[in-house]
């Protein structure tokens, strides 16, 4: 609370100072439980992670816990597997979000037209997003991408790709295909909301003036969609970067670590390798990287929100 704030309230209400302070707390009271809860459950663990990251500690050897300083961090930066999984994470997140967004925009443009059964088409299109991620990953691993019995290979057989083993030959791509399938509807819904909020009279005016559809799209629709696309990319990235289910279910990060992303790799270190200290150090590195990226993302989100609130 700044020094200025109470004076303003007291001046307006002409009341003694302590009362104004009490008023301030009454105002704040409703938000405190949520705030305190969020701090305890989400922030405290990170502080503890920070502490663990300075220790050498194997979960399977009781009493092995001791202070080692920054050794774990040195190990993390020397760890070529960590670097590889970091790159995988960037490819997976970037690839999934971009491809899903491109398809999402295309589908949204189709759904913005009137045609027979549009509601059903929309319903069918959002279904992949509603499928439990674990179930979706299993579905793709077995019935879709299985080398012998999968539908994908059956469809591709006329093209000479009969028994392609997707999950071991193109593991990263396979996981991405599954995630793109799940996340395209999300992008589509956001972009569709953007399209439907576009003032139609401008579009009609442009088309009456003889503007070509492509020009209208580029000059009017795309700039209007920009903040919806940005919002979709940021929110999609928040969810996709944390993806664990698809990697765990489809490839277990393999072969080797070729399809492991950071969440999966850290999980492996902590719960299969029992290396608490090292896993914690990796966690901290990821958090720092996330904070850097998120700072930009948050600024963008706020711009978007103030934009929509003005428009509303």
């Amino acid at each position: 609370m700044t020094a200025l704030a109470p004076t303003v309230t007291t001046a307006r209400r002409a009341r003694p100072r302590p009362d104004a302070r009490r008023q301030g707390w009454i105002r704040r009271a409703p938000l405190l439980p949520a705030l305190v809860f969020a701090i305890i459950v989400t922030q405290l663990p990170f502080l503890v992670t920070l502490y663990y990251s300075l220790e050498s500690w194997s979960l399977v050897r009781p009493g092995s816990q001791h202070f080692v300083g920054l050794t774990n961090y040195l190990d993390v930066f020397k760890d070529s597997q960590f670097r590889q999984t970091a790159i995988n994470t960037v490819i997976m997140t970037g690839g999934t979000v971009i491809v899903a967004m491109v398809i999402g925009v295309a589908l949204a443009l189709v759904l913005d037209r009137k045609f027979l059964g549009r509601g059903i088409v929309r319903t069918l299109l959002i279904t992949p997003f509603l499928i439990m991620p674990v179930g979706a990953a299993l579905l793709w691993k077995t019935t879709m991408l299985d080398s012998t019995f999968g539908i994908v290979n059956f469809v591709l057989r006329p093209f000479g790709i009969g028994h392609f083993d997707w999950l071991s030959r193109l593991p990263l791509e396979s996981v991405m295909i599954e995630m793109i399938w799940q996340w395209t509807p999300f992008m589509m819904l956001l972009v569709l909301a953007g399209l439907q909020s576009q003032p139609k009279d401008i579009l009609e005016a442009a088309s009456c003036d003889g503007a070509k559809p492509l020009a209208i799209f580029r000059e009017l629709t795309l700039p209007h969609l920009r903040r919806f696309i940005e919002l979709g990319v940021v929110l999609g990235a928040i969810y996709v970067v944390n993806n664990f289910d698809a990697v765990y279910m489809m490839t277990q990060g393999g072969p080797g670590i070729s399809s492991a992303n950071l969440p999966y790799y850290i999980y492996q270190r902590a719960f299969l390798g029992f290396q608490v200290g090292q896993a914690a150090a990796m966690g901290v590195v990821v958090v720092v990287a996330t904070i850097i990226v998120a700072t930009f993302a948050l600024r963008l989100i706020f711009k978007t929100f103030s934009g929509t609130e003005q428009a509303a």
Partner: protein, 297 residues
């Protein structure tokens, strides 16, 4: 919008020379909309196909599921579902339902007053608080799982459904705060002013003025939180073992213990997925709003 455009064009005031034009244009538009329809339906079938195939496979025998040339016509059997339901699915469903319902109620209990204090009776630093909530969503959960696991172990709360309830509440709280705030901001200012002028006490303003406007928002928020809790896997697989395991964990256990049986797996996945799909279909509009943290109405 289409209808309005046509209305303008066929208005009686138009010069008679252009009389033939609207009809032709309408015809072109109709064939155009057929083309868009074909594209739309094609995309829908493509995207929906894996789901359809899952459901079809769940009604097959394993022998029918394992074929080089996929069977489309077959006599459906319910035997896979019988196996799934008799293999101890219900405790998992009960755990999932409990974690979902209780955590969603907790989220609403915490988020609604919080959102109120960030919108209608906005505190100073509202921006900072909002910032804080959404930033917790950005921090990777994997970095928090180790201390959470160790704390749960030391408190003897591993494999306890209440641990999941707490974690799911924290996971959904930021979404709920943002979303509820966007609903509170929709309460018309005049209504509030009028209530204040009449000297209505805050409690009455809350229950009689604000609540009716915000009630659909509470429902929408509950829906989104339920979907995320029902589908959550990472915490569930790490924190639970046998007692508190949820439906996604059940699906995983299915492969490792039974080997890879496509048809059985498809039946289990269908059962696990069905509740959320049905709810999501019914509430498409709220889905958009929830997913965008309330940014899109």
């Amino acid at each position: 919008m289409m209808a309005r455009a046509e209305q303008i064009r066929t208005e009686p005031g138009l010069p008679t020379g252009a009389a033939g034009q609207p009809a032709r244009r309408r015809k072109r538009r109709r064939s155009n909309s057929t083309a868009w329809g074909i594209v739309g339906w094609f995309a829908a079938i493509l995207f929906f196909f894996p789901v359809l195939w899952m459901v079809l496979t769940s009604f097959k025998t394993e022998a029918q599921a394992y074929t080089n040339t996929p069977h489309v016509l077959f006599s459906p059997t319910l035997s896979q579902y019988k196996t799934v339901f008799s293999s101890g699915l219900w405790p998992y469903v009960a755990n999932s339902a409990f974690a979902t319902i209780v955590s969603t109620l907790l989220v609403l209990l915490l988020a609604t007053p919080c959102a109120f204090a960030l919108s209608l009776r906005a505190v100073k630093k509202t921006r900072d608080v909002l910032f804080f909530f959404i930033s917790t969503k950005m921090l990777p959960v994997v970095a928090a799982i180790i201390p959470i696991y160790i704390a749960a172990r030391d408190l003897h709360m591993l494999d306890n459904i209440f641990t999941l309830v707490i974690l799911y509440t924290a996971m959904n709280l930021p979404i709920a705060v943002w979303m509820m705030r966007s609903f509170f901001l929709e309460v018309p200012g005049e209504l509030l002013e009028a209530a204040q002028m009449d000297g209505a006490p805050l409690r009455r303003t809350l229950t009689e003025v604000i609540l009716p406007v915000v009630a659909p928002g509470i429902a929408a928020t509950a829906l989104i939180c339920s979907i995320f809790s029902w589908n959550e896997f990472f915490f569930a697989v790490n924190i639970t073992a046998t007692e508190a395991a949820t439906v996604p964990v059940f699906l995983v256990g299915f492969i490792s213990s039974e080997g890879l049986y496509f048809a059985q797996l498809a039946a289990a996945a269908t059962v696990a997925t069905l509740p959320v799909v049905l709810v999501g279909w019914v509430a498409q509009r709220q889905l958009v709003r929830g997913l965008s943290f309330g940014a899109i109405k």
